[in-house]
């Protein structure tokens, strides 16, 4: 008999609608667990206790009137780079410490309208730049599976919160793997939608042509549910797609018979943990056993993806972070004798090391004389990477790969070597460059007893097939039932 905090969203929905528990009771249980466990994990920057209780009360009123949305009364955590009106949104940066947005992002607003309960804002690598959440200005988050290890990043707080049952589901953002990689390291489900599927209005921009908001959940059905709630065209986001949003739940349980799974050779090479590769290969076998056809494919430009990403993403990031100048909001250094010093000292004091590193790299890539060799070249390589996927998808319906080359690594192990940290994203990064949808599902444990994730990548706007494949795999195995002991 699972505690309410251990339920999935769909399990909680059934019990809320069946009158077994009220939203207020469910929320109190989650808040109590947060109070008990959060000190060990540090998943949250802000816990919005009063707000959650008020929203839970409102949700109960709606449930009583049968005015229910799938998320009504459901406790959700939001990564702290999504604008929530009146609630501190600091992107885990000193430069935004104390900042309360005067508006709601589109996705937070939709959740509110659906009657979801906001439990709090989760920790992240500063401005979503990182793969371990160690770049947070307010302390690292710990992996619930082993508190000495990192939860991955940059949505480490959201992933840890879901893994530790501190919420029923969470939202993160993914620019180079920031939903999928922490999901993999924390043993939960994490999905990055197709670029343009979900509105970015209100998502504090890191790399505008790569960022997407997506769900982190305990199982695939929840991911489908949460994705449905947040998808769709937004007139406030010119890059959001007008394509109609299919009913992801309608085809979720159709199985994989008749689907072709591609296994890209370049993702099963040295450099990845042998236990990771073994677990993922077992996952592919499970899909074959469930009726999928499996075939080898090639994505020849895979080796160039990290290099390409670290020029495109840093260039866009350096641009997006220009607005943090201490003039209209955020941190301003005191005692500056003139305007220039105000800018220099505010940004120097407000940004952390990794952010500064990326701003410097991005500024360099865009600067006069270097634009063609770096930024422009990288954008051309990006086309080559996209073409690889398009070619592969002519013969397969989904691609299956490891999500991360390793399981969770010890906190502090990679912070000294930025390049080593960047290479953690090697399996996830190409997907962002190509704008495709991808999910990570738990598929076993590594030698240290930490979770391993399997990634399923789909065609643009074909989240339905990605979810369907992931669900079939999940049902054929027990990995999603594994929980950390807390």
């Amino acid at each position: 008999m699972t505690e309410p905090t251990g339920w999935t969203i769909h399990e909680a929905r059934a019990r809320l609608d069946g009158g077994e528990i009220s939203a207020a009771e469910l929320t109190d249980a989650l808040l109590a667990r947060i109070a008990r466990v959060e000190g060990d994990i540090h998943a949250f920057n802000t816990v919005t206790e009063d707000l959650a209780k008020a929203q839970a009360r409102a949700a109960d009123a709606r449930i009583a009137q049968r005015d229910v949305h799938p998320l009504t009364g459901i406790g959700i955590a939001l990564k702290d780079n999504m604008a929530t009106e009146g609630v501190e949104t600091n992107c885990s940066s000193r430069i935004l410490k104390g900042y309360r947005p005067p508006y709601d992002g589109t996705v937070p607003a939709r959740l509110k309208a659906d009657g979801a309960v906001t439990l709090g804002k989760t920790n992240l690598d500063e401005f979503a730049m990182g793969s371990s959440t160690e770049n947070s200005a307010f302390g690292a988050t710990r992996n619930p599976w082993d508190r000495a290890r990192a939860p991955g990043g940059s949505s480490g707080g959201s992933a840890a919160a879901v893994a530790a049952d501190l919420c029923l589901g969470a939202l993160g953002s993914d620019t180079g793997g920031s939903i999928r990689q922490p999901a993999s390291l924390c043993g939960v489900v994490g999905l990055k939608p197709t670029y343009g599927r979900v509105s970015r209005y209100g998502l504090v921009a890191f790399a505008s042509s790569l960022d997407q908001i997506g769900p982190l959940t305990k199982d695939v059905e929840d991911a489908a549910l949460l994705l449905s709630a947040i998808s769709g065209r937004d007139p406030l986001d010119s890059t959001s797609s007008a394509r109609p949003v299919p009913d992801f739940l309608a085809t979720l349980k159709d199985g994989v018979a008749g689907l072709t799974v591609g296994v890209p050779a370049e993702y099963f090479v040295e450099g990845a943990d042998p236990e990771v590769l073994a677990a993922v290969r077992a996952g592919v076998d499970a899909l074959a056993a469930a009726g999928a056809k499996v075939t080898e494919v090639s994505l020849p430009h895979t080796a160039y993806a990290v290099a390409c990403y670290y020029l495109v993403a840093t260039a866009e990031a350096s641009s997006n972070l220009s607005r943090y100048d201490g003039v209209r909001y955020g941190h301003r250094a005191q005692g500056a004798k003139d305007l220039l010093e105000m800018y220099m000292a505010s940004r120097e004091g407000g940004f952390g090391t990794e952010v500064k590193r990326r701003i410097m790299l991005g500024t360099y890539a865009l600067s006069a004389g270097y634009y063609d060799a770096y930024y422009r070249k990288a954008q051309q390589v990006r086309t080559l990477i996209l073409r690889d996927f398009q070619a592969a998808f002519e013969s397969v319906d989904v691609l299956v790969t490891p999500t991360s080359p390793t399981g969770a690594f010890p906190i502090g192990e990679r912070t000294a070597d930025p390049l080593k940290m960047y290479l953690s994203d090697i399996f996830t990064i190409s997907v962002n460059l190509a704008g495709l949808p991808a999910i990570s599902v738990p598929c076993g444990l590594d030698g240290a007893g930490c979770p391993v994730g399997m990634q399923v990548i789909g065609r643009a706007f074909d989240e339905a097939t990605v979810l369907r494949t992931a669900w079939a795999f999940e049902q054929a195995t027990d990995h999603h039932k594994a929980k950390p002991s807390l």
Binding site: Y195, S238, Y304, A307, Y343, M360, T363, Q379, G435
Partner: protein, 95 residues
């Protein structure tokens, strides 16, 4: 392509970052390591390959020329580190 120290300084100035000497040392090393890594892109033949700046699908993405409510002035200024007379206040700008 390697970056020299004064180039690092120039970029820091462009980016309005007042780096300490220690940071400059570290960054010089980091940037050169990263640039060394990304140099592999140069080996790829990209002649005739279009760039992919716009990942989004083409579509009707206009706004009608209609007014939407602005923020109340107090709200617009409420996060300001320094304000006066209804304006954001900054150290004097010398033209």
């Amino acid at each position: 392509m390697t970056i020299a120290r004064d180039e690092v300084r120039k970029i820091a100035h462009l980016a309005r970052l007042e780096l300490t000497d220690a940071e400059m040392d570290a960054l010089e090393g980091d940037l050169n390591a990263i640039l060394g890594y990304v140099a592999k892109l140069e080996t790829l033949d990209t002649s005739g390959v279009p760039t992919l700046e716009h990942a989004a699908e083409a579509g009707d993405t206009w706004r009608d020329d209609a007014n939407r409510p602005s923020l109340e002035r107090e709200r617009a200024l409420e996060s300001a580190p320094d304000q006066a007379d209804g304006c954001f206040s900054v150290p004097k700008i010398i033209e």
